[in-house]
Assembly symmetry: C2
Homo-oligomer: 293 residues x 2
């Protein structure tokens, strides 16, 4: 059931992104094509789903939530495009398809990433995303913080450093929180911002968000270790090869699985204040724990 | 006189950027260092000067104008970092110093660019930039449009395509307007947005901005052709080598010079509505025409 709802939101977000990304008769259309290719490559759209489902809890107009969700997905997609570059992870494959730089060349991939990153903020600042400019500014601010130097980009930097440094469990946790957790958390926060939620609700959601972000990454490490390239649509076992410290290399498979399960239950606990309204976020937490790719 | 004022603003913007860019005891400090290095490398800070001088015409608080100017400079700097990358222009030298990727490695340079780009919007959305959220949203929107896929990033794409395509004068003009002109124009526009200027004033400033953007690029092409590496602090004659169409290769040196002079006078004409208040922008236009690097 949750999967069907997620697929439905994914479709809505993709339709909107198609609408938002222009086509041009001029030569720069190659850039727009590369942006389109990067963002419309069949992701599960977990972040958009988290955003729109949180927004629903606070009665936000669905169209507004979808625009904000599209902005988050632009950020997520740009980060994958830049992360796949030869100078970074040097990946040829993403969700079973050639990565953007493999298909369009490295220079175009860099620019497509820059274009998507910039467009995210253009979408948020537009009054079609919310009628109240104060809300829009909060969205811009939250997304910039979560995805910038003290969030995702900082986490990517740590990830590069982790290739040659011996990170302990605290450092790996911090790295993963920055690299992956912050963008997941801000998706939920942006739903609450759109809904002008009360501070206590935002605090509960933040705790939930931190939890699922961590579970997401532990499961990612487990999948990188145990899954096949076919299931994942991208190369696996890369962390192990690179000798990189992950939750699995530090804790071992069994303890990592245990930890993910315990964390999921704790995380769901933060939703109790929302009663029935929190059920979908609860299901999402279980989905994140049990996903196979 | 204009040079002293410009140096003064450059100093103020650099001081603010130093304050805004964090230092960290954690490993990601390498990223912050690379961002600092990229943005604090002794540029002339023309865009910040245009922004703060336009803001002055409308009585904007200087601190607000400086924050917005810092955001523009973050965007300008990120674009240079990404443009210098091996996959793009492959430049080793920028203003007489090693480019960011030469000094910190390619992966860190990509991330430093992403970090600066993202931070620009974080700075603008902060209520210290302007007390009115509607004004802040307009700043975010204007800067995102000017620097994104339909502005600067789109122009960079065209610039890559121009290496192998035969662009005519119209196409070169459009390329340059997108690649360089839009960010110069938006610097002026952001000063006017901060000052909540009347529509007719904004129209006059937009015409002025388009003009100086174009003159800036014609002069740039002339300098690339006539100047030495020592004067410019970066390699020259690259466009010629690459067989790229520029204003100089299409119009010839003499006609390009003539055109720049005529355009400057026309551009200054748009300032007449401002009387004495427009004198600094007039001086800037003449400075752009006569600059030697």
């Amino acid at each position: 059931m949750i999967k069907a709802a997620m697929q439905n939101t994914a479709q809505e977000v993709e339709n909107l992104i198609k609408e938002l990304l222009p086509e041009s008769e001029f030569a720069e259309n190659k850039l727009f094509e590369a942006m389109r290719y990067s963002v419309l490559n069949g992701g599960k759209r977990l972040r958009p789903f988290l955003l729109t489902e949180t927004a629903k809890m606070f009665g936000v107009k669905h169209d507004n939530a979808l625009r904000a969700a599209s902005a988050v997905e632009c950020i997520h997609s740009y980060s994958l495009v830049h992360d796949d570059l030869p100078a970074m992870d040097n990946s040829d494959l993403r969700r079973g398809n050639p990565t953007t730089h493999k298909k369009y060349g490295e220079a175009t991939a860099i620019l497509a990433g820059d274009g998507l990153l910039t467009y995210a903020f253009e979408i948020l600042a537009d009054n079609r995303t919310h009628e109240d400019a104060a809300v829009r500014c909060k969205l811009v601010s939250a997304l910039a913080k979560a995805s910038g130097m003290q969030g995702m980009v900082g986490g990517q930097m740590l990830d590069l450093i982790a290739e040659t440094a011996a990170f302990d469990i605290g450092e790996v946790t911090r790295l993963q929180r920055m690299k992956t957790g912050e963008l997941i958390a801000v998706s939920i926060e942006m739903g609450a911002i759109l809904g002008q939620a009360a501070n206590q609700d935002i605090t509960a959601l933040r705790n939930y968000a931190q939890g699922i972000g961590l579970v997401f990454q532990i499961v990612d490490d487990l999948l990188d270790y145990e899954s096949t390239e076919e299931e994942m649509g991208k190369p696996v076992g890369r962390d192990e090869e690179a000798g990189k410290a992950t939750f699995v290399t530090i804790m071992g498979i069994e303890r990592a699985k245990e930890q993910a399960t315990i964390l999921t239950e704790q995380t769901i606990g933060h939703l109790s204040v929302f009663g029935e309204k929190g059920k979908t976020l609860e299901e999402i937490a279980r989905y994140i724990l049990e996903r196979k790719n």
